[in-house]
Each structure stands twice: as structure tokens, then as C-alpha cells.
Amino acid sequence: MTLAESVGKLSLPEAPKAVLILDASESAERQQEAILQLARGVLDLLPAQVDPVLYFLGNPSPYQPAQLSTNAGIWFLENRKRASLVTPIFEQIAEPERVRIAIVGAGKVFDLEDWENTLHLQRTLLVRLGDSLQPRPVAKELASPAPTELVHWLHDPVQHVALSGPGFMPLGWSNDSYQLVRCGAAFALVGENLSQWPVAIRFLADPPQDVRAQLQHASGTTDTLPLQPANSNDLPEPPIGRLDAREQEAFDCAIHQQPFRCPSCGGECAWDLLRCRARGGFGHLVYPSIERARLNGFVRMWRGDGDVCFRAAGRGVLLIGPDQVIVKTHGARPLIYQYSPSAKQWQETSEYFTQYLRVGPDAYAILV
């Protein structure tokens, strides 16, 4: 295998639907108040965007969770004489991989064993407030949990995503909330507590199909997802800008390591100065066109059709050869890495990035 460039995208699956099944049967009659209290506590704690579904054992018709407090007495009574059976409800759930189910009750659920080793039961947590719900162990069961424990089961959002793999090096990504992170000898693209998780990514890896996203949920559980195929629409090329005449003069001086007249303030600047502080404060870019384009990170500049053009070239990584990159992580100076196929790792070189690094015939890179 060798290092190869690829594009992919990550879409997190829809959050599972929360299904709460209450036991109103004769075997749970003495625990009715405790069942109700726990259910109320869970429904109160579930975030507003979660739209739970409420059932009673044996009854395939869903109830409105919002009306539980006012109708609990009637609902428990009308389901009392149904046997503790889960099949009528599980049969309503056509896509068990998209649900998290909790059954709260006391005493046997008679037909649980018919669902042994099914996805339905794997996605089910039994909650006993009296006798066990299972005639023999076939599912996870908690005894008298706090509402928060049950909420964690029913609603377990993703909190952390890390994209990584052998030889992984992200070159560009569509969601700016993700950060490039170096973890020992490997690199990862990491998102934490994001409101929007989808990301398209152009990357190097060895091989690309081994790149995975590791998802960490609020409960601490983890899932692993492969990347999906992406196309150019998912990760469009950044637009090309052009320098004006004064900026081009400055550029021509800078690439020959000669001082130039600042196109912004007119003062003289050293060849490698990008941010001119002649007007005080944090300074301004010596290329107003690039500043107006609000670029951040590496910028590639080249001469084409007589003009000097520029384009964003990656927020934290710039490819400078088939197996060589410059990496700028937060708070650290940019370093040049060389890929080692035998170790399947990027190894730091002793070289440093300098502004106007030549990255192709008549093409240069700056870091802004």
C-alpha cells in the first residue's frame, strides 16, 4: 500500500428515537407510583429536541408523553388487564437500529425470550422497580435507576468525533469547527460538542479506505464509522483571487527576498513581513486583497495570465510534495513532515516553514 489522496465525507446517523415502555400490568400494580415517577423524571430531563414515544406493555398504540402527568391514572387503569408482552410493540418498530428502548416495570415480560439475539432487544434496557422483568437473562437490566441513568440510555448524543487512520493527513475540510490535532505520531481531525457534525474532507492516507471516525457519546460509549464517498460538490475548490498592481509589485520583491513598499500604508517592509504594524494595533496584511477575502491559514500564490493569483490552500496543512506536508497546529509553529511508508507515520523533519516557500513552478505559499 502507498499513500494516496482521497475525498470522503462523514454524516452522523440520525439520533435514535427514544421509546419508553411502561408496565401497567397486574404484576406491576404495586409499583405503579414508582414507575410513574421515574417516567415523569425521564421525560422532564430529555432535551426538547428528543421526541420520545410512549407505550404500555401489550398495547401497540402509542401515547402522548406530554399528557402522561394528567392522564396517568386512566392510562394505567386501561392497560392493567393486558398481559406483560412486548411483541405487539416491537412489531411496530420497523427499524430497531434507529431506536433506544427502555421498559420500566416489575415482574416478567413473558415474551422477551422470543426477541433474544435480535436488534430490538440489543437496543432495549430493562428497568426493574420490583421483580425482574426477564424470566431468564436475555437483556441488560437495571434495578431502580435514577432518571438521569435512563436518560443517558435513551438519549446519548455524540460529543466527540475523531477522524484518523494509517498515514492520515487531512488536507482540507468543509466544517471549520473541526480542528487538526496531533496525537503522538499520528494526526486526527477532531470535533467536540458541535452543533453541526457533517464534514467533507480531502486527505492523504495509507490506504484511504481505512480512515474511520470514532464517535464518543455522552455516556462514554464509542462507535466507529467509515467515511462515505464524496464528490467535488461536497468540498468545492476555494475561489481564486487576484492581487492588484501594487500588491503584485510587492509580491515580486518578496519572492526575491527584497524589501518592498507596503501596498496598504506605503511604508517599507522586510521581504518576509506579512502583517504591517505601521498603523499600530495588530497590524494589517500587506496584501489588502487577501485580507478582504478573509483567508486564514496557508495561501497559495502564483503567476497566471500575467496577474498574480491567490487561493486558500488549507487551514492547517499544506501539501508541498507527494509525501511532504507543512502542518500548523494551534499554538505551534509550522513544521514540515515527511511520510514514512514503513512506519505508516508522518515524521517531523528538521526543516521549518518560511514565508514564500516555493511549492511549484512559479508558485509560492504564505501563512496568514
Binding site: 400490568s25 401489550g58 388487564k81 393486558r82 405487539p88 413473558f110
Partner: protein, 221 residues
């Protein structure tokens, strides 16, 4: 042979010569549980007492050794009839005479000239997965007339037309209940009314209004 399925997806075989349809198998627990999930007088406590004398086994993994646990047993005649009535109009327990005529017909031609594996496959194709899987699994264990479990199964409730009382017919295998009953000659009665016996089950027949069922039945061959 033609068959159709009751509202819980289990097959009844049409026996035109007898002018009735009969369930291929005794009523299973998973069938009966459809009834228990309805609002009626049978709740958890009732079912617990029934399961206490013949525990449940899953239709997914019952074996040759515990297959009787698949079927609802320990029920009383009035409970069995309540279930039959819930299935709909025309459903009932068989009479003794009907049961015996069916039994003899099964002994003569258990498949009614039809390979039963095709029935199992057809049931699954039609969405009656539980019934289809049960028949398939039983076919691995039983041959010919044995599959009907009228012999080597349970004692089944039937109405004695001469007395109006309910009696048991059938001859369980010895491992389940040792006996020497001949269903054609013997009837079985509990010692006391209301006594739940773990080997007493039920099978439902349907006396069709032919116009109503002819269209919904499936000709397998």
C-alpha cells in the same frame, strides 16, 4: 389442499369433505398471547398461573425435548372457548365427533396430498413468519401425521355432543405425560372441574360460511 390464516397468522386447513377448517397445530402460547394483549379478563396473574404448570419456550428455539411448552396448556374449557370466540365468527372448539373424524383423516393422509414444507415456506412468504418457522422446526422433528400433534401432542378440549360437557382427546407422548389412551375410544376428564392440567390444550376449528372464506383461502397445489 387449501389453507387460510386466522387473525394471528396461523394456518387452518380446509377440509371440504367435513365442511370445516381446522388448525394444523394446537394453539401455541405465542398465538394465545395476541389474545392476552387485548383488554379482557386474562391478565398477568392468570398467565403466571398457567405458565407455572407448563412454562413457556420461545418459538425461535424450542427443541424436540420441550416442544409441548410451545403450546398453551392448563386452560379450562370456558377459557378455551373465549379465545375461540375472540378469533371471530364461526370459530369454536371441535366436537368429539369432529375431532375424531379429523384425526382419522389425518392418519389416512397427513399431508392431504401436499408436502408440508411448502406450506411453511408459503406462510413465511405471506408474512406469517412465526407460524412458518414453527411448522418448519416441527418438520425437523416430526413426520407424517405426527406433525398435527393429535397423537403424541396434548390432550385437546372437545365438546361431547351427547352430554354437552367438555372432555379431552389425544394421546401425549410418554415423556410428556405417560398414558395409554386411544383417542378414538377414550375421552379424558380432569378429576375436578376447574382443575388446570398441564397436558390439556386446545385446537380450534372454524365452521365456514363458504362464501366468506373461499376467496381468502390459498390453494397450495
Amino acid at each position: 389442499m387449501q389453507y387460510w390464516c386466522d387473525q394471528v397468522g396461523f394456518p387452518l386447513i380446509c377440509l371440504p369433505q367435513l365442511q370445516l377448517d381446522v388448525q394444523l397445530l394446537p394453539v401455541t402460547k405465542v398465538q394465545f398471547e395476541r389474545f392476552l394483549a387485548q383488554l379482557n379478563d386474562f391478565g398477568d396473574n392468570w398467565y403466571e398461573s398457567v405458565l407455572a404448570i407448563n412454562p413457556r419456550t420461545s418459538w425461535r428455539r424450542f427443541t424436540e425435548h420441550d416442544r409441548e411448552r410451545l403450546f398453551i396448556t392448563g386452560i379450562l374449557p370456558n377459557e378455551a372457548r373465549t379465545y375461540a370466540q375472540w378469533l371471530g365468527e364461526g370459530f369454536d372448539l371441535p366436537t368429539v365427533q369432529e375431532w375424531r373424524v379429523i384425526y382419522q383423516a389425518v392418519q389416512r393422509d397427513p399431508t392431504f396430498s401436499v408436502p408440508l414444507p411448502e406450506l411453511a415456506d408459503q406462510l413465511i412468504r405471506d408474512g406469517n413468519k412465526v407460524a412458518g418457522q414453527i411448522v418448519r422446526r416441527l418438520l425437523d422433528q416430526l413426520k407424517g401425521p405426527q406433525l398435527w400433534l393429535m397423537d403424541g401432542g396434548l390432550v385437546e378440549w372437545a365438546r361431547d355432543d351427547s352430554t354437552g360437557q367438555f372432555v379431552g382427546l389425544g394421546s401425549p407422548r410418554h415423556a410428556f405425560y405417560p398414558n395409554a389412551w386411544n383417542p378414538i375410544a377414550d375421552t379424558v376428564r380432569p378429576l375436578a372441574a376447574g382443575q388446570r392440567l398441564y397436558y390439556f390444550g386446545m385446537r380450534v376449528v372454524h365452521k365456514p360460511s363458504r362464501a366468506a372464506t373461499a376467496d381468502s383461502s390459498v390453494a397450495l397445489w
